[in-house]
Symmetry: C2
Subunit: 733 residues, 2 copies
Amino acid sequence: MNYFYLVPAASVVALLFALYFFKRMMRESEGTEKMVTIARYVREGAMSYLSQQYRVVTRVFIVLAILFAVMAYFGLQNSWVPFAFLTGGFFSGLAGFFGMKTATYASARTANAVQRSLNSGLQIAFRSGAVMGLVVVGLALLDISLWYLVLDHFIEDAGSGHKLVIITTTMLTFGMGASTQALFARVGGGIYTKAADVGADLVGKVEAGIPEDDPRNPATIADNVGDNVGDVAGMGADLYESYCGSILSTAALGASAYVLNPEMQQKAVFAPMIIAAIGVFLSILGIFLVRTGEKASVKQLMASLNRGVNVSALLIAAATFGILYLLGFSNWVGLSFSVFSGLLAGIIIGKGTEYFTSHSYRPTKAIAESARTGPATVIIAGMGNGFISTVIPVVTIVAAILISYLSAIRFDVANMMSAANLSLGLYGVAIAAVGMLSTLGITLATDAYGPIADNAGGNAEMSGLGPEVRSRTDALDALGNTTAATGKGFAIGSAALTALALMASYMEEIRIGMIRLGHTLLEFADGATVEVAKATLVDFMNYYQVTLMNPKVLSGIFIGSMMAFLFCGLTMNAVGRAAQKMVEEVRRQFREIKGILTGEATPDYALCVEISTKGAQREMLLPSLLAIAVPILIGLLLGVPGVLGLLAGGLGSGFVLAIFMANSGGAWDNAKKYIEEGHLGGKGSEAHKATVVGDTVGDPFKDTSGPSLNILIKLMSMVSIVMAGLTVAWSLL
Amino acid sequence: MNYFYLVPAASVVALLFALYFFKRMMRESEGTEKMVTIARYVREGAMSYLSQQYRVVTRVFIVLAILFAVMAYFGLQNSWVPFAFLTGGFFSGLAGFFGMKTATYASARTANAVQRSLNSGLQIAFRSGAVMGLVVVGLALLDISLWYLVLDHFIEDAGSGHKLVIITTTMLTFGMGASTQALFARVGGGIYTKAADVGADLVGKVEAGIPEDDPRNPATIADNVGDNVGDVAGMGADLYESYCGSILSTAALGASAYVLNPEMQQKAVFAPMIIAAIGVFLSILGIFLVRTGEKASVKQLMASLNRGVNVSALLIAAATFGILYLLGFSNWVGLSFSVFSGLLAGIIIGKGTEYFTSHSYRPTKAIAESARTGPATVIIAGMGNGFISTVIPVVTIVAAILISYLSAIRFDVANMMSAANLSLGLYGVAIAAVGMLSTLGITLATDAYGPIADNAGGNAEMSGLGPEVRSRTDALDALGNTTAATGKGFAIGSAALTALALMASYMEEIRIGMIRLGHTLLEFADGATVEVAKATLVDFMNYYQVTLMNPKVLSGIFIGSMMAFLFCGLTMNAVGRAAQKMVEEVRRQFREIKGILTGEATPDYALCVEISTKGAQREMLLPSLLAIAVPILIGLLLGVPGVLGLLAGGLGSGFVLAIFMANSGGAWDNAKKYIEEGHLGGKGSEAHKATVVGDTVGDPFKDTSGPSLNILIKLMSMVSIVMAGLTVAWSLL
């Protein structure tokens, strides 16, 4: 128990440093009056969006919480679940709120500081990003610590290791709250940002011929708001969920893997939390390492970011060996390699993403070159590369799965599927996900830094700060694009590993569901039903062996694969529709408000913000409800085998599709930038126009549909876990 | 055995009718001298492509046959396998040769006949398509009958039902020959046709502003050749493979499901063949029903095509009940419903494809409307719809799987996974695939009719036959587009069900592989190894229960999902590269051969044909070899669980991805046609240009990558089946 207090301690330290960075940033000047005004517009737009979104989400949470309460009443659920669910959602929402507040305060300050030097701008933007990173890990560990202490106090110890199993599986359900919050943040934020971006570009850049972020464009504030709601709040909620999900599912799998060994069971539950806690301390250290001389070049800035992340990662890897040794795991070396494989996989996937999306490398250059024959070949080449780019992340994740499993069971390949090895191996896979996410404090900082720099550029442009400032914010932005690409790969990879860990936890939850149901039936029902329940309990091992030849499993796999595609289709179409509304509004303003294009009249920014907000709120409902409803439905129709098929199919397809969409989109964006740098005719050439088409198609790919898939694959597992009790009860009817 | 002779009889009848239709068609006049010349160009181009392709394929076949012979020598394979493999490839190639010969003879004749009346044109084009349909089913049943008779004669009866198991699993491997041939036909043909099409369009339509099929365009002959090699030969080989694969895997599953009941075992093996044979007779009947009055409208033509297909399908459904009853199946009603569910699923998937790709319906109209805001929104809307369009086929296939399985086991849901029910249920799923494909004689006719009509239009345009003739061929072509869309859905659906049946057969083959290996070891090795072999044989049931929690299975699922995407990426890029070469050549000819654009000089058609041919040959190798090598590699690395994961992941992802690509592509094509019909500004408007971009992107989607996935999902199963012996032996090392 002593080690455990590292977890709340790390949480408090993370939150204190977040507060410190926030205060430091707030002390900076926001610049000219115009800069202050524009920043306020963006901030108000972002906050109005967030409050609208939280209103919708609150309703969904109330409905779901009531449903869980009813399930708990009928013994299909632990009675702590509704509360755990609500706090998970609440803390995730809080992290989003703080992160976005910081980001919207930081952008004008970054633009102002960049007038002094590139490094000053970097410091403000990066440390404001660090607020997001530290708030996410801090609140996650706070929620985890509090719930652990509460449940440890209230849940009775019925002996034979069941207490920790109950505690950990109950805690898992607060991941469902985080998932639901993340779903709306990603889908709603993703639709918002791209409706505004596509709408602003189509009328502003293409029709009216005015540059990006031009204050004459009515959608430009909405576009800047979008960067915040999509890339800051959305990404934060996504990774908050992965972070909680990986720690909690590892704890749950640890509780069941070591159920016969009470002393080690406690430690196996604590291990992921402690690794995460140490990760927080080392992330903070890494954040302080990100600093350069006042006259640093972009290359040096990049190097300093990389130094921060790499030092953190290396130290965490080293610390893991120590932690697992001190905790007394007999296979501490093997488990450390599991953690290490996850950590390494995150880095490799990030590098792979960079290779396939940065215009320093061949693939993106080839896309730019294909622009010579027009937009169609740009699209074909971009999609071709996107498809091929799935190889590196998939092979990496497969390697991480196999290595983390086998190394956890000491390479006992001959008996790798024995009951004991299965539990231990899955614990290894889950702890690999924790390893990947242990650097989250700093990796999320590098990620959230991007949109802040982007907004700083927007602010500089709109405030007319002059070309030199704009070129410096562009340099920061370019850096942000690279870290964003790496961050996206990281988010997808961690989502896949977390989903896998959750899938394993699902089986655990099914087992618990059966035991609980057995008890309930013993109390309420007649003898015959009890017999059925007992027989089913015995049959559990047969269920557990979910063979691929079971038509229910196969059906689940087909439907899971389809879900990923359907979800993409719904979100793509949502962006299309919402962007269409934005296009009409911008055209209307150009037509009806005289003098906008000559700069004599101010466009109605607020109306565009409202259109994006309403569009996002309306469009996010259908895909979101589908993601929640389908796993429940499949559970009722096809039972446990169907659900496992659904999860496996959704995970396989969703992971690959998410990479494809993120990388195609990123590469199109950078192919356009490559031409804008003066290659192949430069800005304004036919080739440039062709890549603008690619970039516009890529917008919903990389910022709406792709990232939303991260949530889908995790959420479907989460829903299945929470509904396990219902699935079991129903399949007995 | 008496019933069996229906199979060779159906084969001979099919081939005789094919000959009859061919002779009738050849009696027609090919029209003016110019028409004859153009038809000859296309024919020669097509034949030169085919002979080049067969040369490459022959080499691959020789290498693989040697490999199989070596495996047979070491007892990892039945010694009939190399021969079965070769004949499968040979017959598939022969069907492609006859089909393409007929199609290229028919196009000018169709153009000529259309001068008389629309109906005359339809008759020639459709009956020439029927030659393809009947040759495919005729040769397939011939190959099946011959091998059955040969193996029945030579293989010794060791008792206890093993003879039929050996016969059927050996015959399955000639499906591998058909698969390999189909792979190259689909991939090579798909690359050829779209390189020529995209190349011709980009320079001809977009740059030089000359219409489709204009004789001044040097790539126009290559484009017409492409329709034949892609849509006729490629589609034929694809469905030949599905047809053989479904019949043979059903026979194999029947042999093992009824292994304890020798009398029924024989009949379970014959049942799929006999249903197919009856399907041939009823397809021929249906073909004769396709006729209208001389003055028929396009609507009446469509109705007459539908009548032919629907009457055949209804009669086959009715006949199935009779056949299964007469064969003496105790669950003849249930199995008939299995067949029926497959038949119905094929029709529903076709209708769903029509809804999502025809511009009579909302989705495609919405894509056309999005053209108002340029090419980017066309691409976004087309992909959004394509993603969503996957729902109908997936839900249909899932329903067909569950119904055919459950109805075969008389809805014994409580024990659906007992060993006996598993065999029987999988037999039900496999026979559903046979049901879907039983109408192949006529459905393939409606499919192959399309490219013939398309080529007739090209011939009319190039020969300057005047606008009235061209508008009639356009009417035939429009009809062909609808049947092609339906046909594509049908091809994908049948590929999915066939792949599923093959997956089930794979498990069977693994079991056989283990038994065979046991015998070999008994002869060659020392006692210790025999013990290992025996233990593994006992462990078989554990292998069979391939749980989704096995990390090897999960790894396989990830890699399978990735394979579908990688394959798409490679083929998309191949088209991009080959089209680029074509663009350069067409530009060169416009530049260097003076007078092409004024019609004074003839372009060098042959050089363009050669460029497409060489491009296709070069580009098809990598994706094809990958499709063959990866299942082998995964078998060696991850064993049977890995392979089953690979097949399930590849099937789930590949199926959904194939539908997405086919439907997005089809919808883009028709959105363009919708605008060309005069909506939204009509031809030449900005909206039209935007849809031309969509259509160009859609070309490799719907005609290269999408259809190639059909082969990938079947071929990976086939390779796994043939390599089962090796996988088993290796996993014992």
